[in-house]
Structures are given as structure tokens and as C-alpha cells.
């Protein structure tokens, strides 16, 4: 083995990559960006969960000092703590308040809340869950549990013996759901996002790779010399890949529904419409970005840049509302954010295509798609000039 030959080879590789800014970026900049994002997101305070409170508790009259209401104390506790941001509601408002997406749960203290507790040492609390975000629901119950637990510990001291010693389960939560139910779990929450992620990135990957093949094999030269027009090229690519995207989302859906047994409330047809729009955008993004890569390796180098930020920031794992403002801005610039949101509205809440929460997201996706169509056509133009 020749040391000088080996070193010459090593030196050549260093020299080559020193000039390759794309690879240098991949090696050094991307990990820093991704790690910073992760650090931000993981340390992220869960943020206050928005809940509504309906307090009907009449309390009990205690001697001459007036009325004691346990519910009032609990509401004060919730307001002063870090876990909740509390909105007081009337009972009839609760449903529409949740459906408008202003909060994750409404907690209802019945009229005889304190009374019951005084007599039996146990009382009921009603909880209406919005239900489309299992993590938020779990957070509501966990934090509410902590506040109730603290109350139980303080009770004997509170107004000495005014109330009975609490039973093993002093407060019973009667939970009902607007969307889904207890059976909705984290997987149900992730399934729509996964469909969006796979549709976007698989199609993107295929487009980039096959466009680069067109270039390296020289076939693009024949295409542009033929009567084929640029819109035809873009459209043809789009249609070709839509076939795969449709099949893929069908497989993912069937697998999720029948094998993973996820729950969904929506119309599968709308899911397909959304997937189609994602595909259109992805094809054109692929055509556009493939202009900046000369071979497959360079294309692969785009993936951390294009894919990872979208996976982390588009609300797949962490709710966008809990992110710092500048990350929220980035999140709203990512197509996956809208794809996720649209698919979740449809699959978890059973919303229709024309309801504003779905339609606005689809509109945003269409906007992205048309920007990418223009960019894609522009890079094809460059091909020819």
C-alpha cells in the first residue's frame, strides 16, 4: 500500500469538497439549523392551554361569613396558575366556543358542586373536550388533576371542618367530546400529517430525481426540441406523479384505517383532493429545485433543507401556536403547515371541503402550487435559453 497514493487520494477528496459549497452547507450548516430548531421546540414551554369555564356553583352558606364556593376557588387557582388561560362562559356558549377553535376544553362546575361535596365528600365536574388534539386534551386533564389534588390537600385546613373529609375520589370528571372521543389517540392525530408528509416528499423526491435523469441522460434536449411545450412538460410530470401520490395515499389510508385502526371522521374523497393539490405543488417544487442540482447526489443534499424544517415546524409534532413568533412566521411559509391543517380538519373533525377551515387551507395550498408552477416553468425556460 502506498502512503503517498493514499494521501493523494485523500487530498483530492478534501480539495473537491472544499469547493463544493452545497456539501459544505449540508455538513455544517444544516445540522446547526436543525439542532437549534429541535432545541427550541423541545424546551418549548407547553404554553397555556386555553379552556373555558362555566361556573354555576351556588356554594354553601357558611355561618355569618357568607358563601363558600369550592368552584370559585378552583377557577381562581386555574387563572393564577401557568397551565391554563381561562375564559368564563355561559353554559349555552360552550359548544360554539369550542367549535370555533378558541379553546381545547370547557370545564363545567354544576350548581350543587360545593353542596354535594359537603354532603358526600365527592362532587362531579363536567369536561367537554374539543377532542381533535389528543395531546392538548391530555394536558387539560393532567393540569386540572394537579389543581384538584392540591385542593384536596388543603381542604381540611380550609375553614376547619366545614366540609367532609374527602373520599378516595373526591372529584369525578364527566368527560364528553365534541370531535372524536376518548378513542382518539396520538396516532389518529398524526395520521393526517403523515399522509401529507409522504405525499409531499415522495413526489418531490421522484420529480427531482427523474428531472435530473432527463438532464444527465440528455433526454430533456430531445423533449425541448420536440413540439412539446413547457406547460405540457410540467403538466405531464404532474399527472404522472399524481398517479403515484394517489396510490400512495390510498395505501397509507387503508393501512391506517384497517391495520393501525386509526379513527377518522371525514370524507376520504376530500382527503384525495387535498393530496392532489399537495402533489401539484410538490412536482413543481421538484422541477424548480432540480435546476439547482446537476446530479442525484446534489439533489439528495436538498432533502434536509426542504424536508426537515417542514416536518418540525408544520405542526406535525408541536402545535404552531406554542412556537416562538419567528418560528410561527416560518411555519406559515411552509406548504406542509396548510396540508396538515386541512387534512386534520377533514379527518379528525369531519369538516367539508367548503367549510372555511378547510377551504382556506386548500386555497393556501393552491397558492403555493401556483407559485411553484411559475418557478418550475421559469427554470424550464432557463433550460432552453
Amino acid at each position: 500500500m502506498s502512503r503517498s497514493r493514499t494521501l493523494a487520494l485523500a487530498r483530492r477528496i478534501v480539495l473537491q469538497f472544499r469547493r463544493d459549497r452545497r456539501t459544505l452547507g449540508l455538513l455544517f450548516v444544516v445540522p446547526i439549523v436543525i439542532l437549534s430548531l429541535l432545541a427550541y421546540l423541545i424546551k418549548l414551554e407547553a404554553g397555556k392551554v386555553s379552556v373555558g369555564v362555566v361556573n354555576k356553583d351556588g356554594g354553601v352558606v357558611v355561618g355569618s361569613s357568607g358563601v363558600l364556593s369550592l368552584a370559585n376557588g378552583l377557577v381562581e387557582e386555574m387563572k393564577s396558575g401557568k397551565a391554563f388561560s381561562v375564559t368564563e362562559l355561559k353554559e349555552e356558549e360552550a359548544d360554539s366556543w369550542l367549535k370555533s377553535g378558541k379553546g381545547k376544553a370547557v370545564i363545567i362546575f354544576p350548581e350543587d358542586f360545593t353542596q354535594e361535596f359537603r354532603q358526600d365528600g365527592s362532587s362531579n365536574i363536567g369536561v367537554i373536550m374539543e377532542g381533535s388534539e389528543p395531546q392538548a386534551g391530555a394536558a387539560v386533564l393532567r393540569n386540572l388533576g394537579q389543581i384538584l389534588q392540591a385542593l384536596v390537600v388543603q381542604l381540611p385546613a380550609l375553614r376547619g371542618g366545614m366540609v367532609q373529609m374527602p373520599k378516595v375520589e373526591p372529584f369525578k370528571l364527566e368527560i364528553s367530546y365534541i370531535y372524536g372521543g376518548e378513542e382518539y389517540d396520538v396516532l389518529d392525530y398524526f395520521a393526517p400529517a403523515l399522509i401529507a408528509i409522504f405525499a409531499l416528499f415522495l413526489v418531490f423526491l421522484l420529480t427531482v430525481v427523474s428531472f435530473i435523469r432527463e438532464r444527465t441522460q440528455g433526454t430533456i434536449e430531445r423533449l425541448v426540441a420536440s413540439p412539446l411545450t413547457r406547460p405540457e412538460i410540467v403538466l405531464g410530470y404532474m399527472l404522472g406523479f399524481s398517479v403515484f401520490a394517489f396510490l400512495q395515499s390510498l395505501v397509507i389510508l387503508l393501512f391506517s384505517v384497517y391495520a393501525l385502526r386509526i379513527h377518522y371522521a371525514g370524507n376520504l374523497f376530500i382527503v384525495f383532493v387535498v393530496v392532489l393539490i399537495i402533489t401539484i405543488g410538490a412536482v413543481n417544487l421538484g422541477i424548480f429545485l432540480s435546476a439547482f442540482a446537476r446530479n442525484e447526489l446534489q439533489a439528495v443534499q436538498f432533502f434536509p433543507l426542504v424536508i426537515l424544517p417542514q416536518v418540525f415546524l408544520s405542526g406535525v409534532f408541536w402545535p404552531i401556536k406554542n412556537m416562538p413568533i419567528f418560528l410561527q412566521w416560518i411555519a406559515y411559509l411552509l406548504p406542509l403547515t396548510y396540508a396538515n391543517s386541512a387534512l386534520r380538519e377533514v379527518m379528525l373533525k369531519g369538516r367539508g371541503l367548503l367549510e372555511s377551515s378547510v377551504a382556506l387551507n386548500i386555497l393556501a395550498l393552491l397558492l403555493f402550487a401556483s407559485v411553484f408552477v411559475v418557478l418550475g416553468a421559469f427554470t424550464l425556460r432557463r433550460e432552453i435559453a
Binding site: 441522460q217 440528455g218 433526454t219 434536449e221 430531445r222 423533449l223 425541448v224 426540441a225 420536440s226 413540439p227 412539446l228 432552453i384 435559453a385
Partner: protein, 242 residues
Amino acid sequence: MKESLAVETKGLTKRFGEITALDGLDLSVKGGETYGLLGPNGSGKTTLIRLLLGILKPTAGEIWVLGKKLPNREASPYIGYMTQAEALYLDLTVRENVLFFAALYSHPSGGRIEEVIKLVGLSERAGSLISTLSGGMKRRVSLACALVHKPRLLLLDEPTVGIDPRLRATFWSYFRELNKEGTTIILSTHVMDEAERCNRLGLLREGRLLAEGDVEELKARTGKATLEEAFLYYSGGSLEQK
């Protein structure tokens, strides 16, 4: 332009930034002839072909192809193009490739596809993937793809580079047949032996047309015995010499 001309350029100039690839080229190619662009690498042959195809836009000058003034794309359905590299889809079969290019030119008749595959002698391999073919076979498929729509003008960028003499002879017999049917062929080459077979030649160097004429004419004009010597005579002299 005159009716009998398949291609005509006037003052055709193409610059890529600082580099001048073609410099005021006046070219005329008659219908039904085989015109050879002879020149060393980098003399502007491929650039000229790409300009005629409308893939590139000229910096200055005018181009007529089949009676249409570019950048009008009306002529493109009647042009066949064989690139320098094979430019085929490696993961498709011979038939699938030919069918695809036929479809781009709205010429997807099954009979014609088998006919053209037979013409290049690949009927038995029609179902084979391109990636399993030899280099010579790929060239033949590439020619088949350029011919499938019966073009009136065939542009061939170094069509017989890297193929064996027997296949080269076969290719030339196709070209003769096509000329007889009225197809005009423009091909680029840097091989003298190939250039000798063309009806007319344009000697290209550094983006300029040094001389034009048939082989005998060029030899006679320079008083040289071979085309190679004639070519060297022109390219050795100053560029103004014409």
C-alpha cells in the same frame, strides 16, 4: 427564402457571455441533400444544430427552417433530432422509447413503430430494456427515435461517433434512403471519412464558416489531394481567408 432551401441562416451569431460560439454565419442547405458540418471540437457545430432546433435563441441573425422563420415553432413537428449522447430512457424498453418519442410528435401508429425498429435491425430486441443494450444498439435506437415521425429535416449531432465501421456503413445506407425520399439531413462530424460522404460540406472553425462546397470542389479549390489536407489548409490560414 428560396423554396428549395431546407435551412437558411443569415448573419447568425450566438454568444455565451464572453465566448462567441457562432460568428455571423450564412448557411444554406438545399432540400433533400446531406449537408455535413465539419469542424474540430468547440467549433460551434452543436450550437448551430441547437439553434436550428430552436432550443437556443440567437444573439443576432435570422434562421429559416423548412420555410418558417424562427423562433416560430411550426417547423418542429417535421424535424428529427439525434443528440450526441444516446438520450434514451434507460429504464424503458426499445419499443417504449420509440413509442414515447413517436407520441411527442403525434405519430403513435403501431405499424410505423415496428417498421422503424425493423429498419435499425432491432426487431428481436424490441422488448429489451435500453440499459441491457450495447453502445451500438443504443445509437440505433436513438436514430429510430429521431426517424419515427418521418421528419422532413433530420439533424444529427455526430451520429456515428464511437460506432464500428459496419454499423457506420449501415447508417449511411439509411441516410441515402432518406435523401431519396426527400428528407434533408444536416449532420455534424469531425471525421473526414464521414465528411466525404456528404453532398455538401461546411467547414466550421471558431464559429465561422471557412469554406463551403462539395468534397471535390473543396479539394480543387485548395489544390489538395485529400479533404483532410483541404481542411487543414483552410484552418491553418487566417480566418479572413474564404
